[in-house]
């Protein structure tokens, strides 16, 4: 199990361009492949990772590691996630200090950036589907969509803090769904 966690998050760490939410589909693909948890439970973990301080992708890895193999799993996942970055930073610092001015590197990023957006949109659609936002025409679906709309509005227009939005949505959930 520990080796599997290490392998999974090492690869994830290696490709986490764009960080944060772009990396969710990568982790989700692996989690579902190994049958570690449902997409719905995975969404809960993203929520908690988003509320915690620090980078979301690393937080998610720690969370999954802990759920799968306790504290050892959490440590292995965190290290696996950060090891590729550490090695690459050292490599860049040693040899390619002008990396950002290289035209080939710049061209690669020219293609990578829109892919990052694509991955995030993909994550949004998948999560919307698996969490019942587009499933049926019912009062329940409507209420979920309302929470979605209000959250998005507060984030874009009101500059609300993500952690604040999650907490508010949780309180609304407690009030209406129990």
């Amino acid at each position: 199990m520990l080796w599997l966690l290490f392998k999974t998050f090492f690869i994830t760490g290696l490709v986490s361009f764009g960080g944060g939410y772009a990396i969710i589909p990568v982790i989700e693909a692996e989690v579902v492949k190994y049958g570690w948890m449902s997409t719905q439970k995975f969404t809960d973990i993203i929520a908690i990772a988003g509320m915690s301080p620090g980078p979301i992708a690393t937080n998610t890895a720690v969370f999954i590691g802990y759920q799968m193999a306790g504290i050892a799993g959490a440590v292995v996942s965190a290290l696996a996630m950060v090891l590729p970055s550490l090695l690459l930073v050292l490599l860049v610092a040693l040899f390619f200090y002008k990396l950002n001015h290289n035209r080939i590197v710049q061209s690669a990023f020219y293609g990578l950036r829109p892919i990052v957006i694509g991955l995030i949109v993909f994550a949004a659609v998948k999560f919307a589907l698996s969490n019942g936002l587009m499933n049926s025409i019912s009062l329940h679906t409507f209420s979920l969509l309302a929470i979605f709309a209000v959250s998005l509005f507060s984030l874009i227009k009101r500059n609300a803090h993500p952690a604040y939005v999650i907490v508010m949505a949780g309180l609304i959930g407690m009030a209406f769904y129990s």
Binding site: G50, G111, I115, I117, F122, M174
Partner: protein
């Protein structure tokens, strides 16, 4: 020798203290790291640190952790890089583990289940918001718009693996730019300077 260990411990402690105060993703850490490394500790000059952040954002992984590693390396070599990285990771790691334990205990409680029922759509909103915030730096012209749209289609309907998609994106970027260069179409590829509030690793 003793002095070196003291310096490494200082690096570790500095980044250790930065981590817990930065709620809301790694990006929130950047200004705090800047203040500590440039103003308080005077480890680096302002220009150096700006370059470092741009570079840290180009490397896979969280920008905050990468920046810490970079700064650690610049001031104390490989040992400094490791000290800074571990320092910046431990507090958030500990908090997340505590939350995991909490979640394992209470996930089946009806009130907690109800809370998450409300939180899930908010998470979808957070993800859409992330795409919204990043779009300016990423979708800069018609070509990048097509690449972004195509990638969504490939991921959703042809089930291309996300890792494969990332590799394809880098290759597509190189091919597209060399093609455009041959056709004599000028393309701006270096947008780090124009979008100071946008980095590749900006995990909101």
């Amino acid at each position: 020798m003793k002095k070196k260990w003291a310096f490494l411990f200082d690096i570790f402690l500095t980044f250790f203290k930065i981590a817990p105060i930065t709620f809301g993703g790694g990006y929130a850490m950047i200004p705090v790291i800047e203040r500590e490394a440039v103003e308080k500790k005077e480890w680096l000059k302002q220009e150096e640190v700006t370059d470092l952040f741009a570079l840290a954002g180009s490397i896979p992984g969280a920008i905050a952790i990468n920046s810490a590693t970079f700064i650690g390396y610049r001031i104390a070599g490989v040992a400094g890089a490791i000290a800074a990285t571990i320092g910046v990771m431990i507090p958030t790691f500990a908090i997340v583990v505590c939350l995991s334990i909490f979640y394992l205990y209470f996930q089946d409680h009806p009130k907690v289940e109800a809370a998450f029922e409300g939180i899930r759509p908010a998470v979808v909103a957070l993800i859409v918001f992330a795409a919204y915030k990043m779009r300016k730096g990423a979708v800069v012209d018609k070509t990048t718009f097509v690449v972004a749209a195509l990638s969504v289609i490939l991921l959703l309907f042809l089930h291309v693996h996300p890792v494969m998609m990332i590799a394809l994106g880098a290759v597509a970027g190189i091919l597209l730019i060399s093609l455009k260069d041959k056709l004599g179409i000028e393309t701006k590829v270096d947008d780090h300077k124009q979008n100071t509030d946008y980095f590749m690793g900006a995990d909101i």
